[in-house]
Symmetry: C2
Subunit: 330 residues, 2 copies
């Protein structure tokens, strides 16, 4: 695979320089690998910090801004950021009201955010952490004990971000984030492998006539290889896998997500099938977001994330957000 | 190439059904192939209509909404929409203040929009048309006499859309759109071919170690095949090709655009190089937009579009816009 890059070693730094140039409302510490909203710390506000390996853009750096994250810590491609980054981020955004770490469930991220929480607390910052583990495909995987954290991260960051922006205290924002995780489920499918810059060749071998059913966002194996399926069949099987695991009570937010290389034309067509299955299964959909949001470098494929939504969830979802990746007004 | 679809024949219709489900603020006529903002016709406002072959999403349907287009007419993949669609769109959005057709310079689109303008005027709708032809790569191409219309379409739709939203009359909005075209230039590069649903195999053959320099948004040939280049070299050559053709007087808007399958991580890295070249060449950048906006199905690659910006341009660029693909508040 050809990549638009200079050398593999500079991919993340180059991207951060490019982000800094495009988004003057962010402060990007390219050396220190931290992306912070320019008006941080925001007085009286709980601060949200997330992060993880790079290669999932716009997650997480693209979700920094009013109404969502206060800071993000990008690691190397598919590699956890280090505790130093998280401590620096926490110090930059803490207004005295405390910091909430939002952590996708991968062993490296979990350990590093844990160590960072201890270090930040030693420096007098109050820290709470919430683990995102929404992927129903497999239990235990290449980089994970338990379930992987994938698409629900967007819902947690948006909804907890809106609650924090409203001035809710740390324990409330933390409880809300935890509730969003509990009320969310995801399932993904790969039509092609991804290619990491350092390796330069596909991370895994996926024959022409097959797909990876239940894939993770680093190309980790899913449940099984299956012969290539239609959009209709993928929607039936993906939504089916989620609803076999869990039945939402009431309406849902739906994220119909691309893995990075799947064009919008295909994602919208897939969304039509996802909506059909949900209607057939009696699940009302309150809001739908379609696009490449929680990606896996240049992987082709898609995932579905559902989040059970009550009135407060909808209010927080509709609240204004101003980030590079997610943006709407009043 | 594997595609996320049912059958090639239903790709555009399926995508429109998926758009309708995701965007309740749009009226999507799936059969009639027209996407209209729900509050159209807007009293006292000039209406903007664009369209073209599908496969360039979010262009054009994703740019329908307050502050941008009033309606879009999607054709089949890489195939011009027909005059009937445009006439229906014009009738749906005309408030009596006239309709502006924004047309990318491809022979089919030009002829069909021309015929539609005559038919709509027969029905009493005042119509003006502006042709977008910003691609400096080649003169005359597979589907085009003259220069191709590519990334500048986004600038024309946003800036003319903002002017129309302010209540400017048809002749002013038309003159502004024409001026934006005159003040914009683009250049693109393909790292991989695209695959149309009906063919199912790459549209052109691009060897592993080469790129297509000056490619069009349907995979039309560019200036030449070149050995694979770094991000730095591509930025030097692409921006160089634009500035060899034309020197902006004063600051520019910059669109650093992905062709569909190139992930944001790479596009941001490319943006860093584009900004470097522009700084070296003495071109100040007032605003930058990075992402997959004017795409070519699943093609990997990128393009740069520059638009010379005066104070009015910046005001119109910053004006609120609420569309699926481009969205910001006050």
């Amino acid at each position: 695979m050809k990549m638009l890059m200079n050398v593999p070693e500079s991919v993340v730094g180059d991207a951060l320089r490019g982000m800094a140039a495009a988004h003057p409302d962010l402060v990007v510490d390219v050396e220190g690998r931290v992306v912070v909203r320019r008006d941080a710390p925001v007085a009286g506000k709980v601060a949200l910090v997330s992060g993880g390996g790079s290669g999932h853009e716009p997650l997480h750096g693209g979700f920094v801004g009013p109404g969502m994250l206060d800071a993000a810590c990008p690691g190397e491609v598919f590699t956890s950021p280090v505790p130093d980054q998280m401590v620096r981020a926490a110090a930059a955004v803490d207004s005295g009201k405390g910091v909430l770490f939002l952590v996708k469930n991968y062993t490296g991220d979990v350990l590093n955010f844990q160590m960072a929480a201890e270090l930040a607390e030693d420096e007098g910052v109050q820290v709470a952490s919430v683990l995102v583990n929404d992927d129903v495909a497999v239990v235990d995987s290449t980089f994970t004990a338990g379930r992987r954290g994938t698409g629900a991260t967007l819902f947690v960051e948006k909804l907890a971000g809106a609650a924090a922006e409203e001035g809710q205290p740390l324990e409330r924002v933390e409880a809300l984030a935890r509730q969003v995780v509990e009320n969310s489920r995801s399932f993904g499918v790969a039509l092609s492998s991804c290619t990491t810059p350092s390796k330069g060749t596909p991370s895994f071998d996926l024959p022409a006539g097959e797909l990876e059913f239940g894939v993770g966002i680093h190309g980790e194996p899913g449940r099984e290889r299956r012969p290539m399926m239609t959009s209709r069949e993928i929607a039936d099987a993906s939504v089916g896998a989620i609803l076999d695991d869990w039945q939402p009570r009431g309406p849902v937010l739906a994220l119909v997500n691309g893995m990075g290389a799947t064009p919008l034309l295909e994602l919208y067509g897939f969304n039509a099938e996802v909506q059909r299955v949900l209607a057939e299964r009696g699940v009302p959909v309150a809001r739908t977001l379609v696009g490449n949001y929680v990606t896996s470098l240049d992987m082709a494929g898609c995932s579905v994330t559902l989040c059970q939504a009550d009135e407060e969830t909808l209010r927080l979802w509709d609240a204004p957000v101003q980030t590079p990746g997610l943006r709407w007004g009043r």
